[in-house]
């Protein structure tokens, strides 16, 4: 069953066509790879699904609901969570606080309960903290709970962002280049975490990635974008052999030479 479906989405920045009628259908429980050359519209598509950009036309359906009726901050409640291409942790907050913010949308206690420190508030705060600690430990950052995020290493910040996205227990997780800038061991660590998410917890993942080995290795299906359009879709093997994809990445002459 398809959990996310993007139909004919157009996004323009002024006169620039960023997305020209993109179609995408993500099956539940899959890791769906999204690849394409630089500027092909992958991140724009992510940001459109997150609600930061408004499509001029087209429709995005998530779990059967039309997403356009939800404002960007309401989408996490629908089960949509994400990480960002350029690290976007809350640098001045501790690692623990970062992951606690990831549970913000679940909080029910209002200003009054915060002022009076009601038992409900204390209970909620304790649960949030404990859950955050659990998720930090899960990505291997357990010992850094009190360290400020901007003093973590680059790879640790990537993992922290992942923990922050996961703590909301999303049904769909969008990862925008999670392996960019990571060392090989870190990439392996990440691969293991992602496989575990899909196989044990049934999280659906949209994975944008330039590290081809990672994306080919774990994706169930792959969509290739170029110039804001979908040029191909299929299993990793099909994509590897697709002439159009090779052209998009390497140019025409190389493709001829390969033939």
């Amino acid at each position: 069953m398809s959990i996310l479906s993007v139909e004919g989405v157009h996004v323009y920045f002024g006169g620039l066509k960023a997305l020209a009628g993109v179609n995408l259908s993500v099956e539940e429980g899959h890791i769906h790879g999204l690849i394409g050359p630089n500027g092909s519209g992958k991140t724009t598509l992510c940001n459109t699904i997150s609600g930061f950009y408004r499509p001029i036309s087209g429709k995005i359906t998530f779990c059967g609901n039309d997403l356009s009726s939800f404002r960007p901050h309401e989408r996490i409640r629908q089960g949509l969570s994400r990480t960002f291409q350029d690290l976007q942790v809350f640098g001045e907050m501790t690692a623990l606080e970062n992951v606690m913010v990831g549970q913000h949308y679940k909080g029910r206690g209002g200003l009054i309960s915060m002022l009076l420190r009601t038992s409900y508030f204390q209970h909620e705060e304790k649960e949030t903290r404990e859950k955050a600690l659990r998720f930090l430990a899960n990505v291997g950052l357990g010992e850094f709970e009190r360290r400020r995020a901007n003093r973590l290493s680059f790879g640790q910040q990537r993992l922290l962002e992942l923990a922050r996205a996961l703590v909301s227990e999303p049904s769909l997780l969008i990862l925008d280049e999670p392996a960019a800038g990571l060392s090989l061991t870190m990439v392996e660590h990440l691969t293991k975490i992602l496989k575990d998410l899909r196989d044990r917890q049934g999280v659906t993942i949209v994975l944008i990635e330039h590290v081809i080995r990672l994306v080919m290795g774990i994706s169930d299906r792959i969509t290739v974008l170029d110039h804001g359009e979908r040029i191909s879709e299929g299993t990793p093997d099909e994509i590897r052999r697709n002439a159009q994809v090779i052209t998009a990445y390497l140019g025409k002459t190389v493709n001829h030479a390969a033939n």
């Binding site: 901050h73 989408r75 976007q88 640098g91 606690m100 913010v101 913000h104 949030t128 909301s168």
Partner: protein, 627 residues
């Protein structure tokens, strides 16, 4: 209305408008090239006017020569100020707030220097042009207006030629478009910034020499600076647009003053600024950059690397000693000191509110005194006109200012410096209302005989009684804010300040959180204002002006952004310096302005940030740090 008057109004409006355009061109150029809003632009105008005055009085030079000379001098001053103060701050990669505050500090310093050199009394300008009127098609037009328009247009034309025809001008345009690329092509950004400050200083100076003959020269003419910003906004910050925006603003102002109300004339420019900014400058996509902060604050905890238990232990001991001292302080102090202490505590309450908005919310608000004033007036009116007992007038003031905060909260959607200028405008408009809604506020003469607070059977009459009343309110406000900050609300707020995009993705409704913050900050201001009204027994619009707003900003910044104790320490310092420097008379304000600039240059994290730094330094030199 006769043709004659209409024509005079039009030329008058155009003349003022041309002056606005010159000032506003400085704003536009600065925003284009350096992404900085110079809050000292009005003071440069003032300096230009004074330079012109001195030259006209002590040299036989003709007006035109003085006009050119004074502009050049002011331009030079601009370059100097940038080189000495702003460049070091910019080179630390400080965020926009630091630069804004530094320019505010520079403005204060220039005002005091002018006061020391030329005296506080308004001076009549010795004009050598434009006396009398010329007849145009049989109708008299003030020749002064014609001179102003001609000289202003000539200056703008010169600027246009410079930007279009000279190599430096083209370099400036290239850098304004994309300074990274321009830098690669060999256009040094520092030179461009210096050039921008030189030109915008010279333009402001020219505006000063043109404007002064219409008014008296005094330190107060700096207020025209922020008002002229509306001309830049009208022109959408393009050079040509600003040139047209100035005269349009001048005409709108004069027409509105003539046909609607002259009392609110000065508010029109601010209203235009706010409206236009709300239309063109609200970002459609949440930003992923940090808005407010500022500085990598080092928590003392991290420096000492003490276990939480030990920190707690020390905190309890300190709290106990501090509590004892505050409780018994009145027993050893005289009446005057107590009076000052009560005022300091009231200011602390107000500053804490602003700390929440700026330090945690990351919105640069320069209109906090308006909330304080509205709270003071609301509380005073409730008890004077309706006989509402004190606790309820205090609550009424709190609720009313809170609602006012919510109503104006959309302003906080504006990014950094736009938010600063829009809130400054909001403050000025509120101040105009206090001054001109005479039937309710009694205008400039203010409200007096505000009753002392009555709590049940007790009337808080003495300063001693007030000491404890203010102390209790202060503790409640501090405790409340502290609890809010250390909860989901505070986390969401800091997250939104750090990164709007990521926090939106985490489900935080950034706009709504900012609105709540402004409302809570306003409530604190309103509570402080209410206490002040009942403590002082007299309030007038003067006590809630832009100068007060800047005072609050200083308290928060000097103490340390993003720290509640910082706001209180800052209040003591800002309040204490003028008290301690009584002997220096007017120079003490100079110290105050210089402090702002120095803090931004050397201690952008404020006093609360300096303690951990000093501790870290000591520990490092002793070599006793174990990693």
């Amino acid at each position: 209305m006769s043709m004659e008057i209409i024509l005079q109004q039009i030329t008058g409006g155009l003349a003022i408008g041309c002056v606005y355009a010159l000032i506003a061109l400085g704003f536009s150029m600065m925003l284009r090239a350096t992404d900085l809003l110079n809050f000292a632009q009005g003071e440069f105008l003032m300096m230009g006017a004074y330079f012109g005055y001195t030259l006209l009085t002590y040299t036989p030079l003709p007006y035109i020569a003085v006009f050119i000379l004074a502009s050049l001098l002011t331009g030079l001053l601009g370059v100097l100020v940038e080189r000495l103060t702003l460049r070091p701050i910019r080179e630390q990669q400080s965020p926009v707030l630091n630069l804004i505050i530094a320019t505010v500090g520079i403005g204060i310093c220039l005002r005091i220097i002018a006061q020391v050199v030329w005296g506080a009394e308004p001076i009549r300008y010795p004009t050598r042009i434009g006396e009398g009127a010329v007849l145009v098609a049989g109708l008299p037009i003030s020749s002064m207006h014609i001179w102003i328009i001609l000289l202003a247009v000539a200056s703008m034309f010169a600027l246009h030629l410079f930007l279009q025809r000279t190599l430096s001008g083209m370099a400036w345009r290239a850098a304004a478009y994309d300074h990274a690329t321009a830098e690669i092509l060999g256009i040094g950004f520092s030179k461009i910034v210096a050039l921008t400050f030189g030109i915008s200083g010279a333009l402001a100076g020219a505006a000063g020499v043109l404007l002064a003959p219409l008014f008296f020269v005094s330190q107060d003419i700096w207020l025209i600076g922020p008002r002229a910003f509306a001309a830049a906004a009208l022109g959408q910050f393009s050079i040509l647009g600003t040139m047209i925006g100035g005269p349009v603003l001048g005409l709108i102002e004069t027409m509105a003053a003539g046909y609607i109300s002259s009392a609110y004339k000065n508010g029109i420019a601010y209203a235009i600024t706010i409206i236009i900014l709300m239309v063109i400058a609200v970002p459609k996509v949440p930003s992923s950059g940090s808005v407010g902060q500022l500085y990598a604050r080092i928590p003392l905890m991290e420096v000492l690397a003490w276990p939480a238990e030990r920190m707690k232990h020390w905190r309890h001991i300190l709290l106990f000693i501090g509590g004892l001292i505050t409780l018994f302080l009145p027993a050893v102090l005289g009446g005057y000191e107590i009076h000052i202490l009560v005022l300091i505590m009231i200011y602390m309450i107000e500053a804490l509110g602003l700390q929440l908005v700026i330090g945690y919310g990351g919105s640069i608000v320069i209109g906090h005194a308006a909330f304080v004033g509205v709270g003071a007036y609301a509380s005073a009116l409730l008890s004077l006109k309706m006989g509402v007992p004190f606790p309820f007038s205090l609550m009424g003031a709190a609720v009313f200012t809170g609602l006012l905060g919510l109503v104006f909260a959309p302003i906080l959607r504006l990014p950094g410096h736009y938010c600063a200028i829009a809130t400054l405008g909001f403050g000025e408009i509120m101040n105009l209302v206090m001054s001109n809604w005479t039937s309710v506020t009694n205008g400039y003469s203010g409200l007096s005989k505000i009753p002392k607070p009555q709590l049940g059977p007790f009337i808080v009459k003495s300063d001693y009684g007030f000491y404890y009343l203010a102390l209790i309110v202060l503790l409640l406000v501090y405790g409340g804010l502290n609890r809010l900050i250390n909860s989901r609300f505070g986390r969401a707020l800091v997250a939104a300040k750090e990164n709007e995009m990521a926090s939106t993705a985490m489900g935080i409704n950034v706009t709504w959180f900012r609105s709540q913050t402004l409302a809570i900050g306003a409530v604190c201001g309103g509570i402080g204002g209410s206490l002040y009204a009942h403590f002082n027994g007299f309030i007038s619009p003067d006590g809630f002006s832009i100068v007060e707003s800047i005072g609050f900003l200083t308290m928060v910044v000097v103490g340390g952004l993003g720290s509640l104790p910082g706001a209180m320490i800052g209040t003591v310092v800002v309040f204490g310096i003028p008290e301690a420097l009584r002997g220096l008379a007017e120079y003490r304000m100079l110290v105050y302005g210089a402090l702002l600039v120095l803090f931004m240059m050397r201690l952008p994290g404020g006093l609360t940030d300096s303690v951990p730094r000093v501790v870290a330094f000591i520990m490092k030199t002793r070599g006793g740090v174990k990693k």
